[in-house]
Subunit: 306 residues, 2 copies
């Protein structure tokens, strides 16, 4: 039996990394030969969670060969997936995003639910199958949900996510509020990243009609401090736009304490952003009060106004 590879999206975040490890545990319980892998560097928040609960980071891969059996977690769009995905054999997807830019030649397992985090769905699957979740793994699943829902403050959060957090915190035996704040704060220590790294850390490519865009996001506890590096960011973004022939780049600097975002917006299609948010960019930036979720508050606005 060949080894199936399990991975989340490029620019991996905590949910993507934890999902690949958790799904790997799940598949092993089903008797499958699998290996979790990742498609990019581990960020500091994820590193904190892995260290805290005693897990190693999955191995890095850049592409898969033709016919490789794979399981996708926390994404489905080919543009966010591994190089070579078009010719892989996709056996399963577990995800909480819209379905787009995805197709298979054969029937498969596909499980998506409109909840705040992939691990909320994974928890359900463990229960449906009567599988036990050990203390360490519960901690990892908890970390993913805290990350995706910004400690239950994001509008993407559902009742199921909230229940899952409480249930998993009990199994993991941690105080999720204090652990969660510590983990999120670990992720906001961005001082030793270059501007190039910061705009790539959590960055999603997306197609807006016939336009090519990227929406990147970083979490911070101090927007003004981050904005001191605005000129650096602009330079890095302009280079990315040129290198990748992009029409639009939105970089959202999100204040996870006060739940606002400052956006730096560049490209020849910035009017999509301006129209969508009814804002005039000033010096390439705009302040977005109450906006913390790329999936729920930024991407749909851009998609509707492209």
């Amino acid at each position: 039996m060949e080894e199936m590879l399990i991975f989340g999206h490029k620019s991996p975040d905590t949910d993507t990394i934890c999902s690949s490890i958790v799904m790997s545990d799940f598949q092993k319980k089903l008797g499958k030969k699998v290996k979790p892998v990742r498609l990019g560097e581990i960020n500091k928040e994820t590193k904190f969670a892995l260290n805290y609960f005693g897990f190693d980071a999955p191995e890095l891969i850049n592409s898969v060969s033709e016919g490789q059996e794979v399981i996708l977690v926390d994404h489905n769009e080919f543009s966010q997936s591994v190089d070579g995905i078009e010719n892989a054999k996709i056996r399963m997807v577990v995800d909480h995003h819209r379905v787009c830019d995805f197709n298979t030649a054969e029937p498969l397992y596909y499980r998506a639910e409109p909840v705040g985090c992939t691990n909320t769905i994974l928890l359900k699957m463990y229960k449906e199958n009567g599988f036990e979740i050990d203390k360490k793994l519960a901690g990892l699943m908890l970390s993913a949900i805290i990350s995706d829902t910004l400690l239950l403050k994001s509008p993407t959060k559902t009742d199921e996510d909230e229940k899952a957090v409480k249930e998993l915190a009990k199994i993991a035996d941690v105080d999720y509020m204090s652990y969660g704040l510590e983990m999120l704060k670990a992720g906001t220590d961005l001082s030793d990243y270059t501007a190039e790294e910061l705009i790539a850390l959590d960055c999603k490519k997306c197609e807006l009609k016939d336009k090519k865009a990227k929406v990147a996001q970083v979490n911070t506890a101090d927007i003004p401090e981050m904005m001191k590096r605005k000129a650096e960011f602009e330079k890095a973004i302009k280079k990315d736009i040129e290198d990748n022939d992009l029409d639009l780049f939105v970089f959202a600097i999100t204040d996870i304490i006060n739940s606002n975002s400052q956006a730096i917006v560049l490209g020849k299609e910035t009017q999509i952003f301006e129209k969508g948010f009814n804002k005039t960019l000033e010096d390439n930036t705009a302040f977005l009060p109450g906006v913390v979720s790329r999936k729920k508050q930024i991407l749909p606005v851009l998609q509707e106004n492209a």
Copy 2:
């Protein structure tokens, strides 16, 4: 709360019709306001099942308006779905086919499994939610699985389908072998259909690379009897090819007793079929021993050789 519409694919078969009724019952148990509908005429096999277990056929619709909330069962490809699907709000999909030509603007529930029938998945969902299945509904679900797996003889059948059939037969209190044969035979009474109706009865559009194709299928207990109408079928197929600008039309006449098919193949791309099955068409036809499943034994062959 607006009413959500639930429907399967065009050219509805027994699984598509039963899935829409069963999913409607499931959603009502969840407290949702829903209505099962259908996208085409009910075939005789389905009519037999509906009559046997005392259900009315869902209402016929031809299109949905913009923003209409919908649930898709037994299909996902937009080309097989209702007119206007691109602008509907797809809230859920339950299916057992590959994912293709499908996308949404928002996250949704998507549940697909590589089993022989949608109702095998629906049975699982009832159990996961602790919902009871009444006698009549069990009969409907049983009928769908018998239909899609040709009474468990199709290569698309999985162990889960077989278990589901046995479980549902118990609840429905029927002998599934004798009921199943009777139901399948009811579907093979094709004498009062015109050739045009027969090639449209269970017909799937598909894209083969940049080529447009249709693969239609009818079940029979007597291939030679059906082939007496070959000239009629060819005329109807040629008209469909012309009207819809098709590159290929495959009409499979499937002997459900002996598990073989006779294919009538027309269009300017018949070499895709000939290459795929390693057959030279004689007088537009070829005999395909052991071939009964469009999904597993015909479509993949055409897709790989386009």
